[in-house]
Amino acid sequence: MTLGLKITNVSKTWNPDGPEPVPAVRNLTLDVALGEFVVLLGPSGCGKSSLLYIVAGLEDATEGSVTFDGLDVTEPSPERSLIFQEAALYPWLTVRDNITFGLKIAGQTYKKQKDAAERLLRLVGLVGAGDKRPHELSGGMRQRAALARALAMKPKVLLMDEPFAALDIQTRARMQGHLLNIWESSKASVLLVTHSIEEALALADRVVVFTARPGQIKAEIPISAPRPRDMRSPEMIHLAIQCEALLAEEVEKSFKEQEQELA
């Protein structure tokens, strides 16, 4: 039995029986080892989100299989938590109740929920914000609350779909540092989607570059440099140029395709 996430020959076509089936992912094979931090990098619309939804168990793959710790993924589970670009906190709950939502569903005692909430609020740097409502928080704070909500369920893998894309650059950098700290202490695997090369290089053990739609793996770039990484070091600049070249080709392709579709 292999521990961790195993994606084997997965294809996904949206509306397969409809008039215009959309092939989003094609024949993709990817493993994420226990505790590994993998970043998916690709042009927008290439099927990255589709892949995350399949891994989360929210959507079925059209072909292929996904296993986690040797078991088939057939439905969602708090073990494989998903974090969206917008935090998707429930506006009718306080920040604390949002964070303990999963614990409440799991039937944990009120005392346990309360303790967990305090611990998690401290972990993500939101002490004192527990009684606030989501709309009172900034974008970065909301995203931290969403992270805390996922961590409350002690996930084995965190799936993150462009989690920092809606944040300003300064907040982004802080959040990346934050995420790395949490990842290192939690020992969960991370599969994070981004279209930012810099973000990919700052975070990943391995960057997986996607092709234009339908998404396939174009290249895998392992990065062994210790974190925090200096983006101005020759090694990083070299990697960035490499990624940029790979990505530019695919963006070009997807533009061409869109033009053809319109014509």
């Binding site: 929210l58 969602p76 589970s77 998903l82 969206f84 009718w92 999963g102 909500r149």
Partner: protein
């Protein structure tokens, strides 16, 4: 920012800032009066110029002049259309308003809870949904007034037919609104609930219900006025005492002053209802920002 920079001018401007705050509090009310004044002013002006016949279109200063004379026609106990001169005090007027308000409230509560239950049921139980949806969609466009004879056949006269009509006036619309709200719950909310381990029942209870309630409450408020119109019609054709009955009696006796006096009462009561619903909405559905409440 330091405290001095903030406080020093504040002390000097205490008088004005106190006045400004009061003005700010009162501003909505002032606008209400300004809005009314335009209407009333125009009417009074028309009377003064002799454009409006005071017998048919008596302006406010006439129909509000002799209140006790008007009060005579309000009889909260009266069940006969056209009952005359058994009322007489402000309490009988309030009694009549209370009867109409009670019918509206009962119909609204029934309509809101049942439409919510049926709407959720339609989406929750697939077969039930397939059976109910065509029925609801076909009954929805029938005007509540068309239900009036049905209401009388089934319930006779008294409170039940009036309440039934209010119920009918909002039930189908609210059921369809419930469906559309359920379908528009953000997909992420539901996906998240599934990841957190919710089963179907828990998703409805913990996510869909709280997500749809605020908008449904706004829909309810929008249909409040329709409910009022229906109840007045029901009272006018004789289900018992109430503002609608007084209006009809005033019409039958060519008492234009009484017509306008009653219309004023209806307007004020409807306004009060809307304010009350807004208050409930703010207290119960605290997560809805004031921006999405709408209206005055």
């Amino acid at each position: 920012m330091t405290d001095e920079t903030l406080d020093a001018p504040m002390v000097r401007d205490k008088q004005t800032s106190w006045f400004k705050r009061l003005l700010k509090r009162l501003e909505p009310t002032l606008w209400v009066f300004a809005s009314l004044s335009i209407f009333v002013g125009f009417w009074e002006f028309a009377w003064w110029r002799g454009w409006a016949n005071p017998l048919l279109l008596p302006p406010p200063h006439i129909f509000l002049a002799n209140l006790t004379d008007q009060f005579r026609f309000f009889d909260p106990g009266g069940t006969r259309a056209g009952a005359l001169a058994t009322g007489g005090s402000i309490f009988s007027v309030l009694g009549v308003i209370a009867w109409s308000s009670f019918r509206v409230t009962a119909g609204l509560v029934l309509g809101f809870t049942l439409s919510l239950a049926i709407g959720i049921g339609i989406r929750y139980f697939k077969i039930f949904g397939k059976l109910m949806l065509p029925l609801v969609t076909m009954l929805a466009p029938i005007s509540p007034v068309a239900w009036l004879p049905v209401a009388v056949f089934i319930f006779g006269i008294g409170n039940p037919p009036a309440i039934f009509l209010v119920f009918i006036a909002i039930f189908f619309i609210m059921t369809l609104a419930t469906l559309s709200q359920i379908d528009n719950v953000p997909a992420h909310y539901i996906q998240l609930a599934r990841i957190m381990g919710c089963n179907k029942r828990q998703i409805y209870r913990h996510v869909i219900l709280p997500a749809i309630l605020p908008e449904l409450f706004v829909t309810l408020r929008m249909n409040l006025f329709a409910a009022w119109m229906v109840v007045l019609i029901a009272e006018a054709v004789g289900v018992g005492s109430g503002l609608g009955q007084v209006t009809m009696m005033a019409r039958n006796t060519f008492n234009a002053s009484l017509v306008f006096f009653t219309m004023t009462l209806i307007g004020i009561t409807g306004f009060a209802f809307d304010q009350a619903l807004r208050y409930v909405q703010r207290k119960v559905l605290w997560w809805v920002g004031p921006s999405s409440v709408g209206g005055l």
